[in-house]
Amino acid sequence: MSATQLRVVLTPEDFSRYPFVPEALSSLRELELTLEDIASTPLGNLILEKARERLLKAVEGEKLPSPEEDYMLEVAVFYTTLLILAGVGDDRLTEKFSTLYAKAVYEFLLKDLEKGSRDKLLYLAVKVLGWDVRPVDPNVLIHFKYFVSAQPEFTGEWKLTNRVLEKGYVRVSWRELARLLETGVKKYVISLVQRAEVSGNIPEGVYRVVEEVSRAWSARQQDIRSVARDISSRRGEEALPPCIRELLHQQLSGKNLPHSARFALASFLLNIGFSVEETLEVFRHSPDFREDIARYQVEHIAGLRGSRVKYLPYKCDNMRSYGLCRWSCEGVKHPLQYFYRALRGRRVKVKELW
């Protein structure tokens, strides 16, 4: 569907839920609010305080506050948050904020779907993200290049191999489109931060918030580093195969890992003797960590729930096809095999495949 064919009327409520759409930004221009104002007027201070609050939540990995009902205020808070993120200039914090932010957007998209407002989803896909998406009752067709850039998993029902793909288009349900949009919005918000430019000097008041968020973030990183140190001192990180080492590093740096990656990492740690609590500690740094869900899943993998089977990590072939491994370890067919060999003091030859 081309952008010109699509006419959607956006309400103030939409601007408040989706403040990143270009139309919302133009409403901010009408406000004629400058960065100087943000630092020096009462309205500006309110905006700054709300942006600060959101970023500190993101640092802690907690759910972000609901958007402001006044859409003008929301849009101003949203863009101020992005400017501060650009000022902090840490890709991992930007990723973390964007992940949390996009999760909230996903919830709103589901509500729109319940109300039957499919056009909102189409609007975001086509007009904001520039995707080639065509509604074909009762489903949606999306061009595969946008599908593969936004699919949340590389296994099971999300795997392209398991989809109906015709002449370049993947058939998805509306709910699945909402989930794809979550990734799309996350990447879009990251790109907005990367493109954000401040002309002139950052006013003192705004700069103070940039500093505060930076400090809170690096303190948080210290905690994460201590967990990593703990793992290395207890087991020796060299004993970990390169795939697990990479997943662990990504996890500890706050990257949002797909489900298959989390399963691989959790099952590995549990199998080399980590307790459920220790394993949970590693996952506490996910942008979307929820203690209740994570505990349930880790306990399940540990064999304390459900089928009472303690799960083994994927074997190497599967790690590679899930995109979790890009190495070849000589004579090793299973990540645990690498670990046990390394513990016995045997060096394993590792070759990077791509």
Partner: protein
């Protein structure tokens, strides 16, 4: 003969203008020169004449160019090149396919126990070691199998990915396979994750039979899709209809026990997937053979073909087009001569044979044959 190989390559580049690839100036080039270890990398050219001047004066044994485009292709570090995008490329290499001819021309020697033999065993049949020294050769039978894989890939690209046949550039690599370059500007920016999904799709990797089955009465399972369905489900349904034709009563596919379906789906995927080397597709900084140059192991031309040429030409035609040197007779000596190579059957108990010049060059480059003329 090395000087003869060099002289033959020199004569080829003197009489040939290698057509410059698209976006010539944004690509990195790499070359391996005769008798020199290692590769010259990070080379760039401003136009087709510069490229051809280089080929004429340096006479490389192997010539490669990047599938990626860069702002500064000659920057020595990847981080300084400024990646702008990369073509979506597929490499079909017969090494990934079992062909009957491997017994006729490939040889191995076990580095562990010293045993030797013909074919491409995974491990030494005597001692079980995987540490084998292998020598492989290419013949028309190999090219035919590679061509079948390339045609399957073209079908997947066209029907599933919507890439029409005039949007692909096909190259015979000059050795054991084909390279398929998708010429779509809008695919240039695909990242590695995306390329892996595409690569897995054409290989049928990660396909879960369970997702295609529906539980039915009596513990049997039905295939959820029919032959009209696009993509893998329809492809598998059509294959199943063929295999099960005797058991089909009425319109649809029969209901079967789950294990039987799973076996059938696995067989279908194995038969219908394209055997590509996934590393080439996933790598967004890859160097690949430059069309129009010579392959340094065979002396064959890296040959550009259109999709309809690939369909219409036989393996023999393709090899004939790729042979650029004459057929004057040359006497060579070599141990363990392959019995089938290029278009020729060599039936000789002796280590010394008379062969056409282009075959002598191949035997020399790939097998160290000594020229006795």
């Amino acid at each position: 003969m090395s000087s003869l190989a060099l002289n033959l390559f020199k004569s080829y580049y003197r009489r040939t203008y290698v057509p410059p690839p698209s976006h010539l100036e944004k690509r990195e080039y790499g070359f391996q020169l005769f008798g020199v270890q290692g590769m010259l990398r990070h080379i760039s050219f401003g136009n087709g004449n510069e490229l051809n001047e280089f080929l004429r004066s340096r006479v490389p044994q192997h010539a490669y160019y990047s599938t990626a485009l860069y702002e500064s292709p000659s920057a020595p570090e990847m981080s300084g090149k400024g990646w702008l995008g990369a073509e979506l490329v597929f490499d079909i290499d017969i090494d990934h396919v079992d062909t009957p001819c491997k017994e006729l021309h490939d040889t191995w020697k076990c580095k562990n126990c010293g045993a030797e033999g013909r074919g491409q065993p995974r491990a030494c049949p005597v001692c079980g070691s995987e540490n084998l020294e292998r020598k492989s050769w290419v013949c028309d039978i190999c090219i035919n199998s590679a061509r079948d894989e390339a045609l399957k890939l073209l079908d997947l690209l066209e029907n599933d990915f919507g890439v029409s046949r005039n949007e692909v550039a096909i190259t015979f690599s000059g050795h054991r396979g084909f390279h398929i370059h998708v010429q779509r500007e809008d695919f240039m920016s695909l990242d590695q994750d995306a390329r892996r999904e595409i690569s897995d799709y054409v290989r049928g990797l990660g396909l879960e039979p369970e997702l295609m089955l529906r539980r039915s009465k009596g513990g049997l399972y039905a295939f959820r899709y029919d032959a009209e369905t696009p993509g893998w489900p329809g492809r598998i349904a059509r294959y199943a209809a063929l295999l099960l034709s005797e058991r089909i009563a009425g319109s649809g596919l029969p209901e079967l026990p789950k294990a039987e379906w799973e076996d059938l789906i696995k067989t279908a995927v194995n038969e219908l997937s394209a055997k590509i080397d996934e590393k080439v597709t996933i790598d967004v900084h890859r160097l690949i053979r430059l069309p129009g140059t010579l392959h340094g192991k065979t002396g064959l031309k890296v040959l550009e073909l259109t999709a309809s040429e690939l369909e219409a030409l036989t393996a023999e035609d393709i090899l004939k087009k790729a042979i650029v040197f004459g057929d004057e007779e040359v006497r060579v000596r070599m141990r363990k001569l392959p019995s089938r190579v290029l278009l020729y059957t060599i039936e000789s108990d002796s280590d010394v044979v008379n062969v056409p010049l282009h075959l002598a060059l191949y035997l020399h480059l790939n097998g160290g044959a000594e020229v006795l003329r």
